[in-house]
Symmetry: C2
Subunit: 282 residues, 2 copies
């Protein structure tokens, strides 16, 4: 397996796949040698190369764990050198855009299977990778009419092998669901920081007065800007629709607050809290 | 000490104050006997009463840990029976409104000191109280020109005794800072749930596709609706101002996304991420 982008996801996959013997040799590729060295030292890869062609030589499995916007070029550079029946997978948080750019590059007997392992933290880089990252989480596969069933079955076994539950969605449905539960919260978390950082209250830094609430609410605002830039761009129309829905929900609460409608506020918060409780269950 | 409202804050204060011998007897008051029984069993109070007058009898220290909107009535009912030089404190997340309603009830030799221990979780009730809740967190005291310096010093020692760092702010400054870093994020977290719960994506529940990001972003949407209704109402003008700031920050990000301005998005996310990093430091 060659892993393009040995960050949190790629590095963790390398760690667990090597430990569990799910693949043969694991080769890392990336732009930054520092990070690749860390990946090597931590056992996420057997070796690495800064050259995508060399890294991918004879690879049976090509894992694209780079930002979505970089996948096409990396896949192109690698596919000239991977095994003739290589399976290509990705870990992108959007699927339609990845499929549109990568799938056409992968011609039989090679096969492409779009994947989204829903696991991660706000940290990036091989230094933060850990083999339990995927355990108990969901991996969504988004096959198209072109997807080879045998490749699909093998990819499913890989993700199950690292501890994930595999779910199958259409690329469109994936992008709509994830815009709502992942892409939107990222924009919101960054906007919260944006609102707070502009306010200086008599020379004091408001952030220093925050408790666990703000810390958790904005945890994902520490995520990788490059990765999320690409996600926002790639899923733009759907994300904008979600921003509309969010703004409407915010307006409903704001109106209750502006009206001083105590009963209305309490009823709405109680209802929303009950919805939130569904999330808290493990 | 009599604790009115033996919930997360009141219960935790009782637990740690009793363990460390910071006060004499601790008496609990509340509306729900079930919760008071839990408080008693868990050692948060020595005894309890459902009658505020009985609970407060001869109390030297009256702790108002009920929702902000209930403080006035509880204080009134208790003050007829507390010690003649009783100190009254509160744990409300807004200070101007509490001072306006409670301070006039407390006449010398009694003294009122407005307090806001910035500690908490999304859980409520004595069952979730724990003695380490305050450890290492900040408690803001908001004295007014009427505040007795001796009472202030004693209250400071109490909060330091439970492990907090004490900071002094004007009530106005407190309410402006907390609107930004606490009240606003609560509205936003609830609005996020509101946006998501209305969307059914082809019969699937979007929430079941969420990862740790949404869970953390909306953790505080599991907070007590009654308590937060009162906070939103009591700090309404300042909260609305913060909502304006948030909407402006959201609009800036939205415009970059709608324009497809990749460089702009990345620069903005990078900048905001750096601000957020200040929070992550312990």
């Amino acid at each position: 397996m060659v892993i393009a982008g040995v960050g949190l996801i790629g590095g963790s996959l390398g760690l667990v796949a090597r430990r569990r013997g799910l693949v043969g040799e694991v080769v890392g590729f990336g732009r930054g040698e520092e990070n690749l060295k860390v990946a090597l030292e931590r056992g996420a890869v057997d070796r690495y190369s800064l050259d995508p062609a060399k890294a991918a030589e004879n690879a049976d499995l090509v894992m694209l764990a780079v930002p979505v916007g970089a996948m096409r070029d990396v896949a192109k550079a690698m596919l000239a050198h991977a095994a003739r029946d290589a399976i290509v997978i990705d870990a992108g948080s959007v699927k339609q855009a990845v499929i549109a750019t990568v799938e056409p590059l992968v011609t039989p007997p090679r096969a492409f299977v779009g994947c989204h392992p829903i696991a991660g933290t706000e940290h990036s880089g091989a230094a933060h990778a850990f083999p339990e990252l995927f355990e108990g989480h969901r991996c969504i596969l988004t096959p198209t009419e072109r997807t080879d069933p045998d490749a699909m079955a093998r990819v499913r076994r890989l993700w199950e092998g690292v501890g994930m539950t595999v779910d199958v969605l259409t690329p469109d449905l994936h992008d709509r669901l994830l815009a709502l539960v992942s892409h939107l919260p990222h924009v919101v978390a960054w906007a919260l920081i944006g609102a707070i950082e502009r306010e200086k209250v008599e020379g004091r830094d408001p952030l220093s007065y925050s408790g666990g609430g703000l810390r958790d609410t904005t945890r994902i605002a520490s995520s990788d800007p490059r990765m999320w830039r690409d996600v926002f761009l790639a899923n733009q129309p759907e994300l904008v629709r979600c921003l509309d829905a969010f703004e409407a929900a915010l307006r409903r609460l704001r109106e209750l607050i502006e009206r001083g409608d105590g009963d209305g506020i309490e009823a709405e918060l109680s209802r929303l809290r009950a919805v939130r409780t569904r999330l808290a269950a493990p």
